[in-house]
Subunit: 152 residues, 2 copies
DNA sequence: GTAATTGCAAATACTTTGCCACGTA
DNA sequence: TACGTGGCAAAGTATTTGCAATTAC
């Protein structure tokens, strides 16, 4: 029944409400667009592009693409969202949840994106780089590319 | 005592001549543009964008940007070049040399890109993913982002 | 000679901004 | 009221393609 709280990331439940509160703390206003965007990102199992977000069920009738763009921009600045490359022409965005890190497995044929289930083996190297190079605010991005079984 | 037979990077000398020969084997024609492009990529310590390549010393007077684009496209198809994300709006390209793998350390402020000197710790996970998911042609991309000492 | 390759220009795709109206605090 | 935010349209940047001329083999 009791949970052990060790140093490794504990799966934590994050609510849209929490996120909005955190946004308001740094000066963002509570708007319908912000709520819907955060909800959509939170519900998504994978990073999404601006176009995907802007045309998603919750947002398409709700607000303009430029609005979503500017929201993502603000959220990225404030550190609530991270912008990922993932090799497509369009950028991908994902919620940044403290203590949670995700790597991705991407099919170069059909473009499917799924989270890697295994633990990320890069933290030690990241620490080494932090110490040796003096870089600040260090983080990493790790993606695996290949042809998925369906496309093979 | 865990001696792995991982393809450790054998420092191999690669000449433009070799690369051109390999290109010809797969049907590409020996053109001035191809030579200059391969030379430029080979001399570069880091991946380069299409614009950088097209306006580089060797290529700017040599050929059109569309030509460089199509060359990179063919070289990528043939597996001689890899296209990387690296978080910028433009894609980056780098020569793909068998047995050689490179991770990058990128400053989010000034955009500088440098190769990581330490060995990449991802090969085992890559193998695990290959086995568990059935993905083919698997490879990975690992980048570290942060603020470099100069920009801090 | 034939097919691949090139240059130029035009078309796409994705991102970003200007401006003024609007809503939140 | 004041200032952050939103919608719409236009501009900006990177990529991609069509086509006729050229070049490698």
């Amino acid at each position: 029944m009791s949970e052990h709280h060790h140093h490794h990331p504990t799966p934590q439940i994050v609510s849209v409400q929490d996120m909005i509160d955190r946004c308001r703390e740094v000066g963002l206003r509570r708007t319908k667009a912000l709520e819907e965007l955060l909800s959509t990102l939170l519900e998504s199992a994978r990073p999404m592009t601006l176009s995907e977000l802007a045309s998603s069920e919750r947002l398409t009738t709700q607000c303009d693409k430029a609005t979503v763009f500017r929201l993502l921009q603000r959220l990225t600045e404030k550190g609530f969202v991270r912008r990922l490359g993932l090799h497509e022409r369009a950028a991908y965005f994902t919620l940044l949840i403290p203590g949670r890190h995700q790597d991705y497995l991407i099919c170069t044929e059909c473009g499917s994106i799924e989270p890697v289930k295994a633990p990320c083996p890069v933290h030690e190297l990241e620490e080494e780089i932090r110490v040796k190079t003096g870089f600040r605010n260090l983080y990493h991005e790790l993606e695996f590319f290949g042809t998925c079984p369906k496309c093979a």
